[in-house]
Amino acid sequence: MAQAEIPYQEAMPLHDPHSWVTKYWYSQDHKVIAVQYGITAMAVGLLALVLSWIMRLQIGWPGVFGIEPALYYQSFTMHGMIMVIYLLTAFLLGSFGNYLVPLMLGARDMVFPFVNMISYHVYLLSVIILLAGYFVPGGVTGAGWTLYPPQAILTGTPGADWGIASMLLSLAVFIVAFTMGGLNYVTTILQARTRGMTLMRMPLSIWGIFAATVLGLLAFPALFVSAVMMLLDNFVGTSFFMPAISSALEGGMAGGMIEGTDAYEGGSPLLFQHLFWFFGHPEVYIVALPAFGVVSDLISVHARKNIFGYRLMVWAIVAIGVLSFIVWAHHMYVAGMHPYFGFFFATTTLVIAVPTAIKVYNWTLTLWRANIRFTVPMLFAIAFVITFVVGGLTGLFLGNVIVDVPLSDTYFVVAHFHMVMGVAPILVIFGGIYHWYPKITGRMLNDTLGRLHFWFTFLGTYAIYFPMHYLGFVGVPRRYYDHGTTSAFYPESAQFLDKGISVAAFIVGAAQFLFIANLVVSYFRGKPAGDNPWEATSLEWRTPQTPPVHGNWGDKLPTVHRWAYDFSVPGAEQDFIPQDVPREGADGKPQEKGAVAS
């Protein structure tokens, strides 16, 4: 393998494609792999969208559409897991990570392109195993995306035998895929940057992806371990998570699925929850940090202004990443854990609010005295900030242990996490696609369709989730197939509100088809983009060809001379100076201020 020192990547052997199959299917080019990840993630994402419609139909008009409880429970389980893992994680790291890391760092490719290629194919396998759950006896699992045992593997929950097996197996396979990709991203970022590219000159997108990948490599093991143990509990009859249980549905004392295994005894259901959230909370930031990074770049580019407080932004990402490992049990305040854990976890959780708030301030302060171009990516970026503010602030309710007590497991939680790690990152994904599509395909996305898509999505999601918080205050519990009409906690006005939310959900969902149509049509008919349509500074816009070819940079890698945010530098001729322009560049004068973050 090539040496780590310069000249390192110029000599990197590239695996040249010889046929359609090696060019588009078994490709080792990080850009093709990124697109493969993106398309697959979007395809499962559409399934998740349809599943959410099933849920909203039942909630809005209980019983009218003949949706059975099993289907409802299975739908929200699959919706949750697909969105969190197979769409958001896969898209932000698999797709954005793959596409941007080498290009923004000025590298030829990932350090181990072959492993990178396998990563996608293993991910595809995990998706297939997940969907295979629909075809096994009993169907997919309906245990909720948190998959809490004992319920997940006992009769009385849909898919408690084979559905949960397909889910757990699929997760384990996904983790293998993620690890292969993730090792590549981290090693590339740490060891294969181009000349002049110090860590503190990296665009924030890369910082976000880097931190998130490190989190993933350290957090997914906990999920892997719990998946293995739950499979053993279900099929071999071990009792890791299973205490002695006398389930009337199981017919007395319950044991493993295989005949002859004894009854469960002595295990700890809380162990699963701890392990799950030891993964699960970092997972929130695995999704959020790349989104933070990407949105910082979008705001800076389209506001024509450097990102405000770059160094603090980087440290905030690092701090959030570190803290995310000691806050996990704030998902378990009412789970019956050791009561004094509440003090510890409430404190650590609210500490995280500080770096997070700093990021929000810096985004808004970047807008201050800017020169904002309201392009479609910028619209999505602004929508992200306001959505994230709502989601982040409601996180302060749920993180503060006693405030969480009346609100946990109600619609308040549903609204909170959809705002903060559902809608907000997806807005960034959309923004990112509108932003980088010209680089990927060489054509612009249609602007009018883009704006339509934006307004429906932004206002629509707000209309869905903002009122939902108030259902939570009322006390309406989540994951209910039917709230009943006469309950004290479910007044008729709430029924009315639920119908409204459902209607908004259908509209938002339908608007996504505009986006897909836009992607397809613009690929063939879009306006040619040119090399740098947004007049951005980071390296991916400086490739000799658009779209970039295999190997990205031709004979010589670019050399970086400045940070990625030299917008509107006083005295400079243009309002942006790309990273590879020498210090005494554009205007012949030294760029003193550009040195800030170098």
Binding site: E5, V214, L218, S268, L270, L271, H274, F278, F325, I326, A329, M337, H338, F341, F344
Partner: protein, 115 residues
Amino acid sequence: MSSEVGQQHPLSIYFAVWVGLFIVSGLSYATDFLQDGLMRWGLILLFMFVKAGYIVAIFMHLKYERWALIYALLLPPGALLVLVGLMWMESDYTWLTRIEYFGEDPYAVAKPVVH
């Protein structure tokens, strides 16, 4: 750094560590003959960390790496210490509720092993 080719150290270091590992393993095996208690536990952990230290520092050459790498590898497992510590408290708490409410015997002894 780059002038040096890989990790070249005299073989004697490896032999010394090798012998050291044998001795410490022997010692940690010997703890099995001690009475249960703080003393035994302390020794088990001590020998464990000595062995782990030898392997990581010398065999895996971490001692000879630069601090940038050493810290990058040794700091993240700190998160695990938090997990282990809290899970220790948690499992103890669960156990106590079982003793109190389910009438389980806290002093139960395992059945003798007959091969």
